[in-house]
């Protein structure tokens, strides 16, 4: 009975189409190491990403946003559901075929310290995907690496330096250059700026925007910082406890959030303006996010929701189009 999002009629515009995505991690326990329970990290996610757009995926820690990003790229095997890239179903592809698809879909990681091999020079890090996919001879690859460094705003002369010789912002640029190397059409950026200081964060955000235009990229931008997500995204999906609770154009979402969780989330963010802050009414949510091992019945937000009724405890609200292009999973939206 779960009503799924209708993909826009002109399927040609949809690059990524995710339906009913589930990722459950087993918890082993007891003497025999049997599976005793599951962490339902992603529990039925529906979303689609249009060609050339940036879809922001926000939520608090543990809501499954990173796992969703990884499951879309098949870096984690989904438990159930379908992921289509350009109409091709990825979840049923054999591993060799998935590997080929990786040239089209790449990832930028949060931690620029952890995602670069400390024993590799920058040149080795960036050329690795090119070598793996046999993109030309040594000379061609060397030229390409120099070009990529330039594209992300680094000096091509740095090619023989090691990751530790760079600052956090520069390392993130290296990570972006590596992701770009195979000229992918789709990039999942998982918290790409949250480890950076604000002045550097702005530099990297601008770079991501420039590259999107230059290389016709489509982004899934995963982050917890709603101000950053709003800045960079065309549309935003809000996740709570493994499900998408709201999906809309970023302007609509921020101006008229329909789901109570989105409303609370938006009102919790302090705006850097004391005049605005003095006037704002804040919705303070009670309690913490429940455990994804044993999520609440029905709408999993109901224990913290001030609008909760009997039906919220019993029936899972489907993600439905409540207004044009504005989807929400709530029995009492608005």
């Amino acid at each position: 009975m779960t009503q799924q999002i209708e993909t826009p009629v002109a399927t040609g515009t949809t690059l990524i189409d995710v339906k009913g995505l589930k990722v459950h991690f087993p918890i082993k326990g007891g003497l025999l190491g049997r599976t005793v329970a599951h962490v339902k990290a992603v529990d039925g996610v529906d979303l689609f990403v249009r060609k050339g757009e940036t879809l922001g995926l926000v939520g608090e820690s543990g809501c499954g946003k990173s796992t969703t990003g990884r499951a879309i790229l098949q870096l984690i095997k989904p438990t159930a559901g379908s992921v289509k890239l350009n109409g091709v179903e990825l979840t049923t592809l054999p591993p060799g075929e998935v590997r080929k698809k990786r040239a089209e879909m790449q990832m930028v990681f949060q931690d620029p310290y952890g995602s670069l091999n400390p024993r590799f020079t920058v040149g080795q890090s960036i050329s690795e995907p090119l070598v793996n996919f046999h993109k030309g001879n040594e000379k061609a690859i060397r030229d390409e690496v120099a070009h990529l460094l330039e594209v992300v705003g680094l000096n091509p002369a740095f090619v023989n330096r090691f990751a530790h010789e760079f600052s956090g912002g520069q390392r993130q640029r290296i990570g972006i250059a590596r992701a770009l190397a195979l000229r992918p059409s789709f990039i999942v950026a998982d918290e790409p700026v949250s480890a950076l200081d604000v002045s550097i964060q702005a530099q990297v955000l601008n770079l991501l925007e420039d590259l999107q235009e230059e290389f016709n990229l489509t982004y899934l931008f995963v982050a917890h910082n709603l101000s950053v997500v709003k800045h960079i995204s065309d549309r935003v999906a809000v996740m709570y406890l493994g499900r998408v609770v709201e999906l809309a154009d970023s302007e609509d979402l921020y101006e008229l959030p329909l789901h109570p969780y989105t409303q609370a989330l938006l009102s919790a963010i302090p705006v850097p303006d004391p005049n605005v802050e003095a006037r704002r009414k804040r919705i303070i949510l009670e309690g913490d996010v429940p455990s994804p091992v044993n999520p609440p019945s029905g709408c999993n937000f109901h224990p913290r929701c001030w609008k909760a009724q009997e039906i919220c405890r019993e029936v899972i609200p489907p993600l439905e189009e409540k207004q044009s292009n504005h989807f929400a999973a709530c029995h009492f939206p608005g």
């Binding site: 200081d197 002045s199 702005a202 601008n206 709603l226 004391p274 913490d288």
Partner: protein, 324 residues
């Protein structure tokens, strides 16, 4: 003007390392009134945490070395010996750290850890009374079912609840000054809102002055009355919170405000980042530390270091030769 609760004069905290001298805090002066909320903002490595640790005399010496005067209620903290410092910490001045997971002892119950602080400073209380006070504090920071929860261990609490326990410990002795070093950075926004609301309410209720160290300008706008902006070990601007956001005077403050995306921005507004990197504190530039990144830089900025001077708007001061 009322007497200053805290007055810091020419504070310098240097670290003598093998690679050279790191001037983490370099000639910083500021003051706080009783009950005031002061925000200290800046990026990583600007010296905001070291300033706070210096006020508590919590910097390891060596390799660190603190000079200058730190007057608390007129008493110079720099002259105090170990016992006097222990007396002061936790009772008159207390501190909350960023990471509530590591600031609590995992092998003692929450109640025990609060009661321990209470007993340390209130010798007249019995164990029972200290335990009662612990439960009272847990109630105050809105831990549900405080009586039972006091017997739980830190791992049985979530991140937000642990930070509330830290606040309970910090406020258990009614301190006059609470130093909060990035208290909500590790927390999710909805939990951050809970914790900030709580801190604000409690400091008002008890008249506690709060020094809030953060990199989040939104948090500053929502909670502070007064702001110090730090850069490379110096205070570059200091003003009431409204002036910092409405009429920032130092180019660094201006740059910082322009580089953060805001929730109420219009779509398509491009961010205006600060060029370059913060300076290496082992080898800071001569003159103004911000000169290499400053869009308004002149020859003089590269030679002389500007002092904090009024910019002609009341209490607002900035360390810049050419303020806005």
């Amino acid at each position: 003007m009322a007497e200053n609760l805290l007055e810091v004069n020419n504070l310098k905290t240097y670290f003598f390392t093998r690679a050279g001298v790191v001037k983490a805090v370099d000639d910083v002066s500021f003051s706080m009134q009783p009950g005031e909320t002061l925000g200290v903002v800046g990026e990583s490595g600007c010296g905001k945490s070291v300033t706070a640790l210096s006020v508590m005399r919590l910097v390891a010496t060596p390799p660190g070395k603190i000079t200058g005067d730190i007057l608390f209620n007129g008493d110079n903290i720099m002259d105090k010996n170990r016992d006097e410092l222990t007396e002061l910490r936790g009772s008159k001045i207390s501190m909350i750290f960023q990471d509530p997971m590591t600031s609590l002892n995992p092998v003692f119950t929450i109640g025990y850890q609060i009661a321990e602080t209470v007993k340390r400073h209130r010798k007249d209380l019995s164990n029972d009374q200290a335990w009662k006070r612990a439960i009272e504090m847990l109630d105050l920071v809105r831990i549900p079912d405080a009586k039972r929860r006091a017997r739980n261990f830190p791992h049985e609490f979530s991140g937000g609840m642990r930070q509330r326990v830290m606040i309970a410990i910090a406020l258990a002795c009614n301190p006059q000054l609470l130093i909060a070093d990035e208290p909500t950075t590790a927390l999710d926004v909805t939990i951050q809102a809970q914790v900030l609301e709580l801190m604000k309410g409690l400091s008002k209720e008890f008249g506690t002055a709060v020094m809030l160290i953060t990199h989040d300008l939104g948090v500053v706008a929502a909670t502070c009355e007064y702001v110090n902006v730090m850069y490379a070990g110096h205070i570059v601007e200091s003003a009431p919170v409204k002036q910092i956001f409405e009429t920032p005077a130092h180019p660094y403050t201006v740059g910082l405000l322009h580089s953060i995306p805001r929730l109420d921005d219009q779509r398509g507004v491009r961010l205006n980042p600060i060029a370059g990197q913060p300076p290496d504190l082992l080898n800071p530039p001569p003159g103004c530390p911000y000169a290499p990144r400053c869009p308004k830089v002149q020859l003089r900025c590269r030679q002389e270091r500007p002092e904090l001077k009024p910019v002609g708007r009341g209490e607002q001061v900035a360390a810049c030769f050419y303020p806005d």
